[in-house]
């Protein structure tokens, strides 16, 4: 029972952390243009959680956020984010599990990976609809990722705090 309560508590905290980033996006970043693109913090929680909690949790979290985004953000196809974010979470989780130790560098790499996957999917959807725009898409992806990366430095401590708070009793705590 205690373990279940802790799990619920952990996920509530992660959702609260994501919600804080969404508020930042909605109230401030929505009106900012950096490098010709708007910072897009919505994808960052997926990358950070997958890095801390692993590929499976990252996928599940990506699925939940994907459904949420599809309900609230206009996408090129229905279920766009529901399809891509679990995969992006899985990829980010695998990177932190096999390639880089969880940390700031890994969070930046994971964020780039999530953006690359999502934006390639954007371009693919456009191409499948007969409106291929690979060059413009790549440029937008580059600008969007560049505009968002500085804010990862802000989001990373938030998720690390949640992770540390929820994994105090682990025998081998990461970070």
């Amino acid at each position: 029972m205690a373990a279940r309560n802790e799990t619920i508590f952990k996920w509530v905290l992660y959702l609260c952390a994501a919600f804080a980033l969404f508020l930042l996006q909605g109230f401030l970043l929505q009106y900012l243009t950096i490098f010709g693109a708007m910072p897009f913090l919505y994808l960052v929680p997926v990358a950070l959680l997958a890095m801390f909690e692993g590929p499976l949790s990252g996928s599940l979290y990506g699925l939940v956020l994907g459904v949420l985004f599809d309900l609230t953000i206009a996408g090129p196809i229905p279920c766009f984010y529901t399809l891509i974010l679990p995969l992006a979470g899985l990829c980010a989780g695998l990177i932190s599990q096999n390639l880089l130790p969880a940390g700031l560098l890994c969070s930046l790499v994971d964020t780039v990976a999530v953006f690359v996957m999502t934006d390639v999917f954007h371009c693919l959807v456009l191409a499948l609809a007969g409106k291929a725009a690979w060059t413009a898409g790549a440029l937008t992806a580059l600008r969007e990722t560049g505009a968002t990366l500085p804010f990862v430095l802000l989001a990373y401590p938030l998720f690390r705090t949640v992770f540390r708070r929820c994994h105090r009793d682990d025998p081998h705590p990461v970070l």
């Binding site: 929505q30 953000i73 206009a74 934006d119 456009l126 725009a133 413009a136 898409g137 937008t140 969007e144």
Partner: protein, 279 residues
């Protein structure tokens, strides 16, 4: 002292009487004040001056404080008045803008009596870098439906409603890659399809494709909705021709359009809820 008075008291009394009589006589015959009064006045005069000066200083301070308080109150009242006037000016500017919009809308209403409008305010702009959308504060509760056209007060097309809720709707602007509609060049009557293009979206432009081979478009040609198919009303201004280009395949030409509606500077728009289909 007692002895002195016993020995010389009579002389003292006499001298006092003489002085008194002398003073009385001088007072009687003099035009000025009595010498005693004069003397007393002369002695107390510096004190009077000092007293007056001090009292004057206190009065000045009091007056200064009082006038400072009055000034502060007046200043506060004036500041409040200025704020109210500035508020009135802002309100007047807003009313004036709204008035201008409504006048233009009235002109459009007179021209297009078949349109049924629903005014709406923009509550959010594009939430991602990959779409060009607006969220409005009107939904099914106000009769808005998917596919409704959204225009400015001047009749310039803004976009089409793509998603609708009870009190909100999402509009894909004419720049979005999912927007596509029949279009007609006003000068030549050439028919084409106006559609969003991702490459052009970032430049704030859209594409007019499927133009007839013999079409001869000029820079600045006005492009309107054709109304063909009955999905959208005819005659809404989409934009003007910016440049005519050849498709990559070289088989056809397309025009790059600049939308007439200033999509970055919109606050209020009008949803066309119903219109007459013109064949």
């Amino acid at each position: 002292m007692k002895n002195f008075l016993k020995q010389h008291g009579i002389w003292v009394l006499f001298a006092a009487a003489v002085i008194a009589v002398a003073l009385a006589l001088m007072s009687y015959f003099s035009n000025t004040s009595s010498p005693l009064a004069n003397l007393a006045g002369a002695v107390t005069s510096p004190f009077r001056v000092a007293y007056t000066a001090v009292a004057g200083w206190f009065n000045d301070q009091q007056d200064h404080f009082r006038s400072y308080q009055d000034l502060e109150e007046k200043n506060a009242a004036l500041e409040k008045q200025i704020a109210e006037m500035e508020d009135d000016v802002r309100q007047a500017k807003s009313d004036s803008d709204e008035n201008a919009r409504l006048r233009e809308l009235l002109n459009l209403r007179e021209k297009r009596k078949d349109f049924e409008f629903e005014p709406a305010f923009i509550t959010e702009r594009s939430a991602s870098n990959w779409t060009s959308s607006l969220t409005l504060n009107r939904g099914t509760a106000h009769g808005v439906a998917v596919g409704d056209c959204v225009i400015t007060e001047a009749g310039y097309l803004v976009g089409v409603v793509s998603d609708v809720g009870v009190n909100w709707c999402t509009v894909l602007t004419v720049l979005d890659t999912d927007t596509s509609m029949g279009a007609q060049v006003f000068r030549t009557d050439d028919i084409g399809v106006a559609q969003g293009d991702f490459t052009l979206m970032k430049e704030g432009k859209l594409k007019l494709s499927y133009l007839p081979e013999e079409s001869n478009l000029l820079n600045g040609d006005l492009v309107l909705t054709s109304g063909q198919g009955g999905y959208y009303p005819s005659g809404l201004v989409i934009g003007s021709v910016d440049v005519v280009k050849q498709e990559d395949s070289g088989s056809a030409q397309y025009a790059v359009l600049t939308p007439k509606a200033d999509l970055n500077d919109l606050s209020e728009v009008f949803v066309i809820k119903s219109f007459d289909i013109v064949n």
